[in-house]
């Protein structure tokens, strides 16, 4: 048994034993659980993939004369201004003004909120255009100026939903090619796409949220951020394998971090043909090895993690809840899965394992150097939460 304080002391003294979630299984197999639990202080987990519920609060400071922005666009991408005078929230799936979207399908969706966030972190100069109705205290009615992230007082990433614990494998049983947030899916289950770091993914290494909770310090694209709440659609009460690994989406995390501390290679705008824009993010979460049970759960392997196969031609859009079967991440990574008695040999990933591995190693290095301190959760994530649907009602109840 170790405490957070003991582990943090070892990190601070540069003596912490840190392994990645990719290395720990073989290490435990070799050393045995008991000895390894004594020796290892932290296991690092990570993920890199598109996470649509991401965005940022920006504060521009005040112009002379002052403006209370009522509408604002950054690089022609609309930001939400229903806040104090010069605060805005920019969401990563917001399209650039004038983007034809899917008017001529499949649309290209070349630029949007996610790309603005990437450009900000990369230090590029962007245009701000804002309008206002004008008040006695904020007389300016219009402003057009150019800025970089260094000109902002705050650029705080606030993501309501990141790090899905597990995720669907998308296929298409319909007659035509479809374009989804899970990529281009060809008819008659010709191909399949998945999106998880599997055995490296944070919440798959802590399936019961024993160490990851509200307040946990995380590595958010290079910045030291936090879990600020359970993520939206967090459903910790979903079905699990006998070992406790969720067999569907399950848990999610709401994360925040200072964009000025982020590294550009882990904050990437993405365009999904026929679907829209988003942001791919790199996240690392350290798991303190408090006891043998915590360590045992970080030893999860791709072969032990099952993902639900879902038809995005009908079942997903119509919200039938139908699952066609389950396949392991080992099978997905080998590029061959069997669904409906038919082999799918074209399997692609939207989540980058090489990037996740790079992040797990970067975080491990920071911990070994004593540059990253762990924060114990202030409150646990709910283990019984269920996902509720949106009900269409004809009248007020």
């Amino acid at each position: 048994m170790k405490t957070y304080e003991q582990i943090n002391d070892r990190i601070a003294s540069g003596k912490a034993v840190v392994l990645t979630a990719d290395e720990i299984m073989d290490y435990v197999d070799k050393k045995g659980l008991k000895a390894a639990a004594k020796e290892v202080d932290v296991v690092t987990t990570a993920t890199f993939g598109p996470m649509c519920s991401s965005g940022c609060f920006l504060n521009f400071g005040h112009s002379k004369p002052k403006i209370r922005m009522s509408e604002a666009w950054i690089a022609d991408v609309l930001a939400y201004t229903g806040l104090a005078a010069v605060d805005v929230y920019l969401g990563c799936t917001q399209l650039r003004h004038g983007d034809p979207a899917n008017m001529y399908p499949p649309g290209e969706f070349r630029y949007g909120g996610g790309h603005v966030i990437e450009d900000l972190v990369a230090g590029k100069t962007l245009q701000l255009f804002a309008l206002s109705y004008g008040t006695d205290c904020y007389p300016l009615r219009e402003i057009r100026t150019y800025f970089t992230i260094d000109d902002l007082n705050q650029a705080t990433m606030v993501n309501p939903r990141n790090c899905y614990q597990n995720y669907n494998v998308a296929i298409n049983l319909s007659e035509q090619t479809i374009y989804t947030y899970m990529g281009k899916l060809e008819p008659h289950q010709k191909n399949a796409n998945y999106c998880s770091a599997g055995q490296l993914s944070p919440l798959l290494n802590d399936p019961f949220y024993e160490t990851i909770g509200v307040g946990t310090r995380v590595w958010l694209a290079g910045a030291h951020g936090h879990v600020y709440a359970e993520g939206t659609q967090h459903a910790g009460g979903g079905a699990r394998t006998p070992e406790g690994v969720p067999i569907g989406g399950a848990g999610t995390l709401a994360l925040t971090g200072d964009m000025k501390q982020m590294k550009k290679e882990f904050v990437r705008g993405v365009s999904f043909i026929g679907y829209g824009v988003s942001l791919a993010l790199g996240i690392g979460i350290p798991i303190p090895i408090l006891n043998e049970e915590v360590l045992r759960r970080t030893c999860v392997r791709d072969r032990d993690i099952l993902a639900p196969v879902v038809d995005y031609g009908f079942d997903y859009p119509q919200n039938t809840g139908n699952v066609l079967g389950r396949v392991s991440y080992e099978q997905l990574r080998a590029g061959r899965i069997e669904v409906n008695g038919k082999m799918i040999e074209e399997v692609g990933s939207l989540s980058s394992y090489p990037k996740a591995l790079e992040i797990a190693n970067l975080l491990a290095d920071e911990l070994r150097r004593g540059d990253f301190q762990l924060a114990a959760p202030l409150a646990p994530l709910r283990k019984d939460a269920k996902m509720k649907p949106l009900v269409k009602r004809r009248e007020r109840r």
Partner: protein, 140 residues
């Protein structure tokens, strides 16, 4: 002894004036080259391009290129019609199943990095259209 046959990937950039010359005909008839065209834009009154494989003896290919150059056509034999930007590539592997000839593939199961073998590329441009990160771009 017959010269050894080799295959070279070539790119021709045509100025406006020569789009109506039957250049490929001459490559086949006069230089005995086997031609496989991947991509072409040959529109009169506009600039055009051709991306093709030519198979024949080294000597014939060299002479054919000299012939093509007499038409004020720019010949590029570096074979980079589709470029993958290493810095933009996130190595997610999403492109791999869509790349029919297998030019984009995961070579090392341990690192899972996406390798790009330009010589296998047939310039279908599937990767250019689908890469979420915009890592693959076309020279044209």
């Amino acid at each position: 002894m017959k010269d050894k046959s080799v295959t070279r990937k070539l790119m021709f950039y045509f100025p406006k004036c020569v789009c109506d010359e039957p250049i490929i005909y001459h490559l086949v008839k006069d230089y005995q080259l086997i031609v496989n065209i991947y991509r072409a834009k040959v529109t009169p009154e506009e600039e055009g391009y051709l991306v093709l494989d030519v198979t024949g003896s080294e000597k014939a290919i060299r002479r054919a290129i000299d012939f093509v150059k007499t038409f004020d056509v720019t010949v590029n034999s570096s074979g980079k019609g589709v470029v993958r930007d290493e810095e933009r590539c996130a190595h997610c592997g999403y492109c791999v199943p869509y790349c029919r000839p297998g030019a984009l593939k995961i070579e090392d199961r341990a690192t899972r990095k996406v390798a790009y073998d330009e010589s296998e590329c047939i310039e279908c441009l599937a990767c250019v259209r689908i890469c979420p990160f915009g890592a693959c771009t076309s020279a044209f």
